[in-house]
């Protein structure tokens, strides 16, 4: 695990794989009250679910303090992803800077399928409270 307060731009975050377990996907679509038939009928996974689970995998490695906020999000989808697929995650910190009592951390990540082909790329900006450091 990496201490977010000592992270530097360019630092890679150890990759991990995660399974888009159908029950987990169902719990997600239920929680966000996603009603589009494309997810229900074809068992596809909402892009925000893929991103959220990918970001969770990454952030587990950063030991973020409570109260961390999500400031911005970018995502780019390459193909639809079905429940049951396993994705691998590669991520890198591209920015780490302090401003007005917050540490701003930008993480770029790429989620790939079993064959190594990218399915979703993203960029997450976090605001980490410095008073908790």
């Amino acid at each position: 695990m990496t201490d977010v307060f000592h992270i530097v731009a360019g630092q890679e975050i150890s990759g991990a794989s995660f399974l888009l377990d159908p029950s987990m996907v169902q719990a997600y679509t239920s929680a966000v009250e996603e009603s589009s038939p494309v997810y229900r009928d074809a068992m596809l996974v909402p892009p925000t679910a893929i991103a959220a689970l990918g970001v969770r995998t990454i952030l587990k490695e950063l030991a973020l303090p409570p109260g961390t906020l999500h400031a911005a999000q970018e995502m780019s989808m390459s193909r639809a992803v079905a429940a049951g697929e396993e994705l691998s995650c590669a991520a890198k910190v591209t920015q780490s800077s302090q401003r007005r009592g917050w540490l701003f951390v930008v993480v770029e990540f790429s989620l790939a399928d079993h064959g190594g082909k990218a399915v979703l790329d993203g960029r997450t900006t976090l605001m980490v409270p410095l008073q908790d450091s």
Partner: protein
């Protein structure tokens, strides 16, 4: 695709009520147990003064609007860039908004570019940004 891909066309608006129960379920589903979303005492000491919903929960509403508007093309080719400007609180009603701003040709495909976001019941913008999606080539 259910939305007419013409500049100026409005995307279908969605309204969602945010509840603490929903936030709790989202925490379980996403694995994000940050106490600012779940612990009233912790959240009271934060800059917001009370519990706030996960930004990605509110972003899911916006993504649902894009799926409603563009169908599976959103899953296959969508791009999204947003800022979380203000939080949603339990009890808020969030409304998504969006409008096709232009059509562009990129890497051999035509894309609909949309200004998108979410507002609360006071009209305050919670999320703003841009989304785009590949659309079928228009003929005629």
């Amino acid at each position: 695709m259910t939305t007419t891909a013409e500049a100026g066309h409005a995307l279908p608006e969605l309204r969602k009520a945010v509840t603490q129960e929903q936030i709790n379920r989202y925490a379980e589903a996403s694995g994000d147990f940050n106490p600012i979303h779940l612990d009233a005492q912790f959240a009271a000491a934060s800059s917001f003064g009370r519990i706030v919903a996960h930004g990605m929960l509110v972003l899911a509403f916006l993504s649902e609007m894009m799926t409603t508007a563009f169908g599976s093309a959103w899953l296959e080719s969508g791009k999204l860039k947003v800022r979380f400007r203000a939080p949603a609180y339990p009890g808020d009603e969030v409304t998504t908004f969006g409008q096709v701003t232009k059509l562009t040709d990129q890497e051999g495909s035509r894309r609909a570019v949309c200004a998108v976001g979410c507002r609360n019941q006071q009209g305050e913008e919670l999320i703003t940004g841009e989304a785009s999606v590949a659309i079928e080539a228009q003929t005629g």
